[in-house]
Symmetry: C2
C-alpha cells in the first residue's frame, strides 16, 4: 500500500499563519485493530477557523498540539475494516486530519456519505459543515421571515454563499459583502444574491449598504467583524438578529477595539449571538437531510477551490486566510473512489 | 383647587444633563371634557433613560420637545372624572409627566393600582416598570437556571436590586456591582445578594469578579456598559446570556469604543440582547401580577430615594444620573391620598 503522509503542526502563528508552521512527514500506513477501520482520505477541508485551532490563546478547545498532525475535516473511503458499521468501500465524513491514511474506531467519523446524492466532496461544503453552519446561523439564530433583508459577509465563501442561497429559499432579500469583483459577480450570477458589495473597491461601504438595503437590515450573518460589522450594525432594524459565525477580519490577539455595540443593541432591541456548529451535532443528520432536499430541488450552487496534494495544504490554508479563494477550499488528498 | 405646575424642557444636554435644562412654570389647572379625567400626580419616577429621552440623537422615540413638560411615569389619583373606567378616587399609574395636574383620556394611563397590595409608590418601582424591566431582562432574556451565576450592574438601583432578588427567587447565585460601600452593603444586607463588588473602591475589578464568581458568569444583566461590561464579559461561561438594559456608564454620543465583543460571543456561543420594557407592554399586567405574588410572599425589599416637590425634580434627576442615589428615585409631587 502506498506510503502515508502526515502534516504536522510545528509552530504557532506569531501572529500570522504561514506555511512553514506545518511540515509534511512520511510515515507508515497504520495497522488496524478489532473495531477499527483504515480510512484513505480523499478530500480535506480547509476552514478559516483553523487559525483559531492552532493559536495558543484560549478558544473552543485545546489547541492542536505541536508535533501532531493538523486537525481537519475529511471525506475518505474505508479501505480496511474490522468495524461492522463501516464495511470496506464506505464513504465517510470525519475528522481524520491532515493525513493520507488514518485509523478510526468510529469516534471521529461524523457521518456516512451517500455518493448517489451529490459528489462526495459536498460532504465538506454545501452538504457538510459549511451548509449546516449556514443553516444553524441563519435559520435557527436569525430566524428570518419572508421579505426581510439578510446581509452576509464573506458572501462568496463556502458558508456565505450558502447563507445567501438559503435566504432566497426562505423568501428573503439576500445582500452579500465580498472582496473583489470576481466574488461579487459570483454572488450575483451563481448564488442568486439580490445585491452584492465589493468592499475592497467601494469608497463608502455605508452608502453601498444603504443602496443595497433600502429597508434596513433585519438579519446579519457575520463572518468578519471589524469595519464591515460596524457599517452593517449602523443599519440594523428594530428587533434585528445578528449571528456571529466568524471574525476573520479581526486579529485573534490582542483583542481589537471598535465601536461599542451595547447602545445600538439596546435602542434596536437587537440580539447578537455567537454560535458554533459543533454544539448542534446532535441534529447534524437532520440538518443535512433538509439541505439535501433543497440541493435535490436545485436551490444550491457551489464553487470548489481545489488544491492538489496534502503537501500543499499549508499554502492553501494561508491563501484561504488571506481571502484569495472563491468557494469551498478543499485539498484533494487522494483519487475519488 | 391649588395651582398647577409644569416643568418644561428648555434645552438639550450638551452633553451633560444639568438642572437648568428644566424650568418649572405655574399654569392653571385644566378643565376636563367628556371621556376625560383629571389626575392629581402624587409620585413621579426618575429614570436613567431620561437622559436619552431628552437627547437630540436618535433613540427609541421622538425626543421630548423643547418647551413642553418633561415626560415621566407617575402615580396619581383621579380627582375629577367623566370617564367610566376611572371614577374619582382611582389610583392610576400612567405617563402624566412632570405636572402636578394632568388631563387624561386614558390613553396615557398604564394600569389601575390596587392600594391594598403595597404602598402605591411601588407601582413605579418593584411593582412597576423597574420590576417588570428586571423580570423581562432576567427571566425572559437571560432565562437563568437554578445554580447559575447572575451578575448585575447598578445592583443597588431600582432595577438592579430587583434583578438580584428575582435571581434569588429562581435559585441563582446573585452577584452585584455597585458604586460605594453604602450601595454594596445594601446589596448584601437588604437585597440578599450573595456577593457585591464596590467598583469605585476596588483596585482590580477583574480579580474581584473572579472571587465573587468562582464558577464564572452565566447571566449578565447590564445597565452600565464600559469597563464593568468589559470585565464581566471576560468571565462569561459557555452559552452565557447577556441582557443589555442600559448604558449609563457610556456617553450617548459620540459612540464610545472598547474591546470588540464578537470573538468572545463566538468562542462562548453567548447571546447578547438589548431589550426595552415598552415592547412587552401587552404582558405588563401579567408580569405585575407575578411580581405582586412574589412581593406578598416577602421576597422583595426596596429602597426609595425621595425628593420632595416637583420643582426639585431636575436636581434629583442630575443626582440620579451621577449615581448619587440608592434605590428608586422618586419625586413626591403631592400628598398620598
Amino acid at each position: 500500500m502506498s506510503e502515508n503522509t502526515h502534516v504536522l503542526l510545528r509552530a504557532r502563528p506569531d501572529p500570522a499563519v504561514t506555511a512553514d508552521l506545518f511540515e509534511p512527514v512520511a510515515v507508515s500506513v497504520p495497522k488496524i485493530g478489532d473495531g477499527e477501520v483504515l480510512i484513505r482520505v480523499i478530500w480535506l477541508s480547509l476552514d478559516p477557523a483553523m487559525r483559531g485551532w492552532i493559536a495558543e490563546a484560549a478558544n473552543y478547545s485545546t489547541p492542536v498540539p505541536l508535533g501532531q498532525p493538523m486537525t481537519g475535516f475529511t471525506v475518505g473511503e474505508v479501505v480496511e475494516s474490522r468495524h461492522a458499521d463501516y464495511p470496506v468501500g464506505t464513504i465517510v465524513q470525519g475528522r481524520q486530519g491532515w493525513r493520507r491514511f488514518a485509523v478510526s474506531d468510529g469516534s471521529d467519523i461524523d457521518r456516512v456519505v451517500d455518493p448517489s446524492v451529490a459528489p462526495i466532496s459536498t460532504a465538506l461544503s454545501v452538504l457538510g459543515l459549511n451548509g449546516a453552519t449556514a443553516y444553524i446561523g441563519l435559520v435557527e439564530v436569525c430566524d428570518p421571515k419572508p421579505g426581510e433583508t439578510v446581509v452576509v459577509t464573506t458572501a462568496a465563501g463556502a458558508v456565505g454563499s450558502m447563507v445567501g442561497q438559503i435566504a432566497k429559499v426562505l423568501g428573503c432579500r439576500a445582500v452579500g459583502i465580498a472582496g473583489g469583483p470576481g466574488k461579487t459577480r459570483a454572488c450575483l450570477d451563481e448564488f442568486g444574491f439580490d445585491a452584492a458589495i465589493d468592499y475592497k473597491n467601494t469608497e463608502d461601504l455605508g452608502a453601498a449598504l444603504d443602496a443595497a438595503c433600502p429597508d434596513g437590515v433585519d438579519c446579519f450573518f457575520d463572518n468578519v467583524g471589524a469595519e464591515q460589522f460596524d457599517r452593517v450594525m449602523e443599519r440594523i432594524n428594530q428587533s434585528a438578529r445578528i449571528a456571529i459565525c466568524g471574525t476573520i477580519g479581526m486579529p485573534s490577539f490582542p483583542l481589537p477595539t471598535g465601536p461599542r455595540s451595547n447602545r445600538q443593541l439596546l435602542i434596536k432591541r437587537a440580539r447578537m449571538q455567537g454560535f458554533l456548529i459543533l454544539d448542534h451535532f446532535d441534529r447534524y443528520d437532520a440538518i443535512i437531510l433538509r439541505l439535501s432536499a433543497w440541493y435535490r430541488a436545485g436551490h444550491f450552487r457551489y464553487r470548489e477551490d481545489i488544491t492538489d496534494g496534502i503537501e500543499n495544504a499549508a499554502g492553501a490554508l494561508v491563501r484561504l486566510l488571506a481571502g484569495g479563494n472563491t468557494g469551498k477550499a478543499l485539498v484533494r488528498v487522494g483519487e475519488d473512489s
